[in-house]
Subunit: 360 residues, 2 copies
């Protein structure tokens, strides 16, 4: 008989680096262990000698990186005797909270903005049987409410202000170091509520501090122009972007994100919705990788910074793709140039369509 | 510096067991390596002492098991000089073919049924920039066309009649054996075009033959009642089911699937659409795992067969979840009992909603 080696989630794998007891009941769905995929075609388009990888966090159980933090947050909530959790969400956090609460047998309350949540994310929250509260207001209004409510009701907050969330999320940096055998030179990622950049920086810093690696990447984080408080230097009252996952005007990890950017000598930058969507389409068409709009901003950022030389040739770059493209099928279909060809089920019609469309 | 151990896909991992040359250019998106998740809550509901795991194939790059076969089919098509591939599809095959063809830089033509494809799958095919042909007809009509066209145009078929597809898909059985340290006693899975049961049986049989294990599971495969040719004993002219991924009346791997069922001493069974959807919801609500409707039939089957004693207590059972729930958000939302609560962004309204909904 071969030995068993079933992967049982990131808490079990990284328990020495997480605030977990030996007898903690772990609530896991096998999150983490996502592929780090090397881009083959986009670097050729850029005509630059770079090593670019995407960390495809859309392949976590609920198809976003939130699961890394949620396994920790729900595990600790259960350990501490909580029977209910609450979060505000643009959609990915609510999907993850709903799934892990179901697995744990506790109740999840999620507050989502009215009419600004991608279809897939709403489907997830509803299928996992959590209590979905759609408010007249945006994410930031929901976040304020959650903080207020948690003082007055027996519910644990599982937004990224819950410190266990970032503890779980830092494991993505651990995995990247193990996958590359080093830290990358640059790490590009979307910037919304700013928990993830803080978590990655924590992860890189911990492995640097204990000597697993002897360097840390420059953290390069990107916002949508209509929702760019870090670029403006202050909160934005009415954030707007098609990248709903980063449609956040008042980020909760403000100071941590600035610290990560400064300590790493990285930078913040911004992109229009058009640029975001073009990057999403390019990644899907040239590399076969489908991410949600917000995730694609890390590709937009990498491409601009490589083209300008801000990221020099010879660099190793990791871009985080925070969520799978299936989270938001409507936006994908709307922007696809070629609608399906409607044809008769006949040989000649199909043959003709093939001949017209064959690249030679 | 730590050693690198980046996972680079199933061909690279299992190359000794696949028809691959040392210098073959591998087209991969990091497919395979999906989690095998132990069910905690459903076995308790059944009040049976069983070990049930789900192989969560929805966490492949395009969110279905098709990627296992497609990495092989596209790799070999490119090796053999093909510049274009074609498939008929209920949606998952087309999404996978489109993604891997993009990665390889070749053209994918996909034939999908008119109006019977889940939203997410259509979004994938369109985003990856393949040529989508929607025919007036169902999957079986599309499949006939594909076979005819391939004789008259320079395109390689990448449906599961392409032998490399099953070669790739058999690796799921290898992974399960490595994860459990043995083969399961029972393997439950959905039955549509019947390629997957054939591939799993091939994988289990190969590892049994070379002595990695000394047993093979009973293969238990389930069809939707409105689309159940294996239960009827002959093709079905107008298959109908909400589980669109197995809405196939004339399965291409007919003989192989019968052989797998007979050699393994397993069985076929059928479920109504209502039973399928109930299993999907139960899995999402009790275990936090969201699969597409067709996948849930393996849970329905496991539950019926465990309850009846056909699968005895003490058994180790693996259920394959072929695709992620995000593939079909519409069906999920339609069947969810609780629509979002529309509430004002005010503390008292949220508090009241929490109090009404808190399980105590």
């Amino acid at each position: 008989m071969p030995p068993t080696h079933r992967y049982t989630g990131l808490i079990d794998k990284y328990r020495d680096y997480l605030p977990i007891h030996d007898d903690t009941r772990i609530i896991s769905l096998g999150e983490g262990n996502t592929p780090l995929i090397r881009l083959n075609n986009i670097p050729k388009l850029l005509k630059k000698d770079i090593n670019v990888y995407v960390k495809y966090e859309g392949l976590n159980p609920t198809c976003s990186f939130k699961d890394r933090g949620m396994t920790m947050a729900i595990t600790k909530a259960v350990e501490e005797g909580s029977r209910a959790v609450i979060c505000a969400s643009t959609g990915n956090t609510s999907a993850s909270a709903a799934a892990y609460a179901s697995r744990a047998g506790i109740t999840a309350f999620v507050i989502i903005p009215d009419g600004k949540i991608a279809l897939g994310k709403l489907a997830q929250a509803m299928m996992h049987g959590c209590v979905v509260m759609q408010i007249e207001g945006n994410f930031d209004a929901g976040m304020s409410l959650v903080k207020e409510v948690a003082d007055h009701a027996p519910v644990t907050i599982v937004n990224s202000i819950n410190p266990y969330r970032l503890q779980g999320q830092k494991t993505a940096a651990f995995e990247i170091i193990e996958e590359l055998g080093k830290a990358p030179d640059y790490h590009c990622l979307p910037l919304g509520n700013a928990g993830n950049i803080s978590a990655y920086w924590m992860g890189y810093s911990e492995f640097n501090q204990i000597g697993v690696v002897n360097q840390r990447p420059k953290m390069c984080a990107y916002q949508a122009s209509g929702s760019a408080p870090f670029l403006r230097g202050h909160p934005v009252a009415n954030p707007e972007t098609i990248a709903t996952a980063i449609r956040i005007g008042n980020p909760q990890s403000w100071d941590k994100a600035w610290a990560a950017q400064k300590e790493s000598q990285g930078w913040f930058d911004e992109f229009s919705d058009d640029e975001i969507l073009r990057s999403q389409k390019l990644l899907a068409e040239k590399e076969g990788i489908f991410c949600e709009p917000a995730s694609a901003i890390s590709i937009a950022g990498m491409m601009r910074d490589v083209t300008s030389g801000k990221i020099p040739e010879g660099s190793t770059i990791v871009c985080t793709l925070t969520g799978h493209g299936l989270k938001d099928p409507d936006t994908a279909i709307k922007q696809s140039a070629k609608p399906p060809l409607k044809i008769k089920a006949e040989l000649n019609d199909v043959k003709a369509a093939i001949e017209r469309n064959l690249k030679m």
